[in-house]
């Protein structure tokens, strides 16, 4: 059977989602997107001045991708809802990564406000992808609110620390029938592979790619790692043993 990845009934061509922040230039970003083979990329909505002369990021996103706006900057559910509505009004579509952060030091998400925003936006027809602290009860609340997937953090945003929440993510994968997309904190391709080996449906990476010496090269490495991790998960890793178990026969050769 083909291994299909679907969100809200739509087949997604890649299990590697890429953020577009922090790249040194739009040209480097585009090269990284192409190397990543990502089908979903994320962006943020920001207010601009009338005299703004910055290049528009939309001019540098390859065609055919799903652009998912995040609600970064939102400090409560109301602000997240406003950002989502503005994004849709601009023509950026229905895909929305809900990100509500009240803690400016650790940038950890506010689950309660995220759940509120999820319910409102799902009812308005958005494809809701909430970024949250991986708590099982809150994950169930997000599912009940209409989330199309769950996006637990692996570690605080931009830290590259990897799967600090590994045990909690394993619980979400085991207990919920929604795609689990590990977001934030993944700093190395090996960590992305590990997330996929745990049964995550996908990973979203930004900082680790954008701040690499060679972002396009790193994007390609992540794409391979995500694929490898997924294949390993489907192949069913062997059991872990506390004691040594010989891989070769220990008798019949000498003596």
């Amino acid at each position: 059977m083909q291994d299909q990845f679907k969100i809200a009934g739509l087949r997604i061509k890649s299990r590697f989602l890429l953020g577009t922040g922090k790249f040194p230039s739009n040209e480097v970003m585009r090269a990284a997107i192409e190397a990543s083979r990502a089908h979903i990329v994320t962006a943020a909505l920001r207010r601009i001045d009338l005299d703004s002369e910055e290049e528009n990021i939309l001019d540098h996103i390859p065609e055919g991708l799903i652009m998912m706006t995040n609600t970064s900057g939102a400090r409560d559910a109301g602000e997240a809802v406003r950002i989502a509505r503005l994004s849709r009004a601009m023509g950026a579509g229905n895909w929305i990564k809900i990100e509500v952060i009240t803690d400016n030091k650790h940038l950890l998400p506010d689950n309660a406000e995220t759940i509120k925003a999820s319910a409102i936006l799902a009812a308005e027809g958005f494809i809701v992808m909430p970024y949250f602290n991986p708590d099982l009860a809150d994950a169930r609340r997000l599912r009940d609110a209409g989330a199309a997937s769950l996006m637990p953090l692996g570690a605080p945003i931009g830290t590259n620390k990897g799967l600090c929440t590994k045990e909690l993510i394993k619980i979400l994968v085991a207990e919920l029938d929604l795609p689990v997309i590990v977001d934030a904190g993944i700093g190395r391709p090996s960590q992305a592979a590990e997330a996929m080996e745990l049964g995550a449906a996908a990973v979203l990476v930004n900082t680790a790619v954008a701040t690499a010496k060679d972002p396009a090269g790193m994007a390609a490495a992540f794409a391979l790692a995500v694929e490898a991790g997924r294949r390993a998960y489907l192949a069913g890793p062997g059991a872990v043993s506390e004691t040594a178990r010989a891989s070769s026969p220990l008798t019949g050769f000498l003596g």
């Binding site: 953020g19 577009t20 922040g21 922090k22 790249f23 970003m29 994320t42 962006a43 943020a44 909505l45 920001r46 207010r47 601009i48 001045d49 009338l50 005299d51 703004s52 528009n56 990021i57 939309l58 652009m67 706006t69 995040n70 970064s72 509505r85 503005l86 994004s87 009004a89 601009m90 023509g91 950026a92 945003i157 977001d183 934030a184 979203l204 930004n206 900082t207 954008a210």
Partner: protein, 56 residues
């Protein structure tokens, strides 16, 4: 920003930004681009223009 009075939103926006790449809010409410030409700005109106930037 405080809106310059005497202009329509269309007149203010159209020369600077491409439609479909920005979204406008007038006094906090989304203003669809088909309403830009007929919407005159008054003194004290709060005009906000948003677009997409890189983000994760």
């Amino acid at each position: 920003m405080s809106a310059p009075a005497g202009l329509t939103v269309d007149g203010l926006i159209d020369n600077r930004f491409e439609r479909g790449k920005v979204v406008v809010a007038l006094n906090r409410a989304v203003l669809p681009d088909n309403l830009w030409p007929g919407t005159a700005l008054n003194e004290g109106d709060a005009l906000e223009i948003f677009t997409l930037f890189g983000g994760g």
